[in-house]
Amino acid sequence: MNAAQSPVTSEGAAAAAMVPSRQHAHRATTDPATPARVPLLDVRDLHVQFQTRTGVARVLDGVSLHVDRGETLGIVGESGSGKSVFFLALLGILEANARITSGSARFGGFDLLGSSEAERSSVRGRELAMVFQNPRAALNPIRRVGQQIEDVLLRHTATPRHALQARAVDALRRVQIADPEARYHAYPFELSGGQCQRVMIAMALACEPALLIADEPTTGLDVTTQAAIMALIARIARENGMATILVTHDLGLAGEHCDRIAVMHAGHLVEMAPAAELFARPRHPYTARLLASTPYGALSIDALTSVPGQLPDLTRTDLPPCRFSERCDRVLPACAGPRVMQDTGEGHHVACHNPC
């Protein structure tokens, strides 16, 4: 039912079926006992702590997640919910004050958390790429954008030096930058925000990764540019059979582009469901509140409400098992007990003792 909803998805699934034939995907299918059903990315029970001035903040508290080949997954949550930290942890590029305390993450056949920095950095940018928000700041201000793309090619491919420039220009052309030969020589400050984001995407996709993590890729861009950037990511994902994770605070954006959506709150994954299912039947009170605060569909402005309260202080030592319980109007005595993620069918998972 989900596939029927979005043409992007059905073609994406078809392309995904061809993925194993691609040269760099062989590692994922080394185990013949479980063909095809091995998820591309499989994260289990990830815990991340930040050492802060005021104490230890448990920023991620047991997050599990999987992504299939060619799939588009949305991660939705307010700022501070830990959605970006989750992916920085997977890539191994957390700040120095952050520590992964437990959990496992397999990407294809590769152990993301257990491998050395040298092994991990050879996967980053080649098979697992990430683009960030605020593209102008995300590019080196004093290096030509063409050179920045070449840096990625030099790191991960065996492109001979004389062919580097041509490949970098090709990468720019793929992301539909006008006059790529001239833009190759540009510095980020000479480009618009949208063009900078295209350059970021060109860098991320230069090595045709199997998974692209787009962290708020359209935040700070104007609306028409947002649509163009999202269309660009969707097209390339479809053409390459690339899985995409869209990290956003915008439930509407996620609903438009994703097959499945996972909702995060204060370092917990609270609900995960196919996009249409989530919009039709939100089960977690937080998701329901979030939907009611999103200008989506036929909802009138007057009907919009905000989510009451704010994210709890994660450095607190007396955080309740359900970190939403203090903002929740459906709280039960059972909510003081351990959290359980229950499967309510149709691929719908919710971590709530009293789902809507």
């Binding site: 890539l91 980053r124 940018g125 960030f132 080196n140 201000p141």
Partner: protein, 348 residues
């Protein structure tokens, strides 16, 4: 492409000329202030030069000869007229033209200051980078200690201490008596910098002697400015390391060295370049005392001796040269900025 390059050179030349022209009012201000300040100094040069036994008439005679009996405005008028002709007046103590003496002594001061700046940069920048990449480590604390010590000890004290330890106690350094041991004759003048001239002369022994002489005063000056440079490098590097584009560089898998040196350090050096400009002016100022301690025949010790003797012309000349150097240096820094930062190139 060629026409483009030509246009860039033209724009660059225009920029330099505009900057120099803009510096003229500053230099004029310096001329006025130093003129007035030297007149406000205590002591009567006429009495000083007439000698302790001179009669009142003899002193008045000297005063008239020096032109000091005229009004201040008239004196300033004469001074300006001479200045335009490149005449900085004569030193009363040596009787020689100040311009000539300054030109003779300037290379000694510049060599000392530049070597000190180079030395300080070579130590401070790596120190700052290490401190930033390992915050809270031994290197970080060492950086902080050196910074505190270097700033809190006055240069003449560090100079005396170094001379005492390395010349008097250990005997590693040659006597602190100028640019070159009297046993050597100075290298043939090409640049006026003994180190470079000795290199040109291909004379290893001479080079070693010159380097030995300059080591202690240069280290004294360098110690004084390692602090600001290393602290600025550390702060700037820390800022850049937590910036979005460094995260991007790491996210695409670039090696740690490439992230640190190509992405982070080059960006972090921009404010350091600015600091170097400020530090250079500290160095020019503090070199006066260091030159005195090490009997360095530079413009600083020259001005200091003149000041003690109430000899106006050399002091005014010295301050003017310093101001001109400062203007030139800032120009060089702006140009250097344009080389490192493409954004600065287009704002001209």
């Amino acid at each position: 492409m060629n026409a483009q390059r030509l246009a860039a050179v033209r724009a660059g030349a225009g920029f330099v000329l505009r900057r120099l022209a803009a510096a003229l009012p500053n230099l004029l201000g310096v001329v006025v202030v130093t003129f007035l300040l030297t007149r406000a100094l205590p002591g009567d040069p006429a009495a000083y030069f007439a000698g302790p036994a001179a009669s009142r008439e003899a002193i008045e005679e000297v005063r008239r000869a020096l032109g000091l009996d005229q009004g201040i405005a008239t004196q300033f008028g004469f001074y300006l007229r001479d200045l335009v002709q490149g005449d900085l007046g004569n030193s009363i103590s040596t009787g020689r033209p100040v311009a000539t003496e300054l030109i003779e002594r300037l290379p000694a001061s510049l060599e000392l200051t530049l070597i000190a700046l180079l030395l300080a940069t070579l130590i401070a920048v790596p120190l700052g980078v290490l401190a930033a990449t390992r915050p809270g480590s031994v290197v970080d604390h060492l950086c902080r200690v050196i910074a505190t010590v270097g700033v809190s000890l006055p240069t003449f004290f560090t100079g005396l201490l170094l001379a005492y330890v390395f010349y008097f106690l250990l005997g590693w350094a040659p006597p602190p008596t100028g640019r070159l041991d009297p046993a050597f004759s100075p290298p043939q003048t090409v640049t006026g910098f003994y180190l470079i001239d000795a290199l040109f002369a291909l004379d290893g022994e001479l080079l070693a002697a010159v380097a030995g002489q300059i080591a202690l005063p240069a280290i004294t000056l360098a110690l004084f400015v390692i602090a600001p440079i290393s602290r600025m490098t550390r702060a700037s590097m820390l800022g850049v390391l937590s910036s979005d584009f460094v995260r991007t560089a790491r996210a695409v898998g670039l090696s740690r060295t490439r992230v640190l040196y190509v992405y982070a350090l080059r960006n972090a050096l921009l404010p350091v370049v600015t600091t170097l400009g400020m530090v250079f002016s500290f160095l020019l100022g503090s070199s006066i005392l260091v030159e005195k301690v090490f009997a360095w025949p530079g413009v600083g010790s020259y001005a200091l001796e003149a000041l003690v003797a109430s000899d106006y012309a050399p002091v005014q000349g010295f301050v003017l040269v310093l101001a001109a150097l400062y203007v030139l240096l800032n120009l060089v820094i702006d140009l250097a900025y344009g080389v490192v930062d493409p954004r600065a190139r287009f704002e001209g």
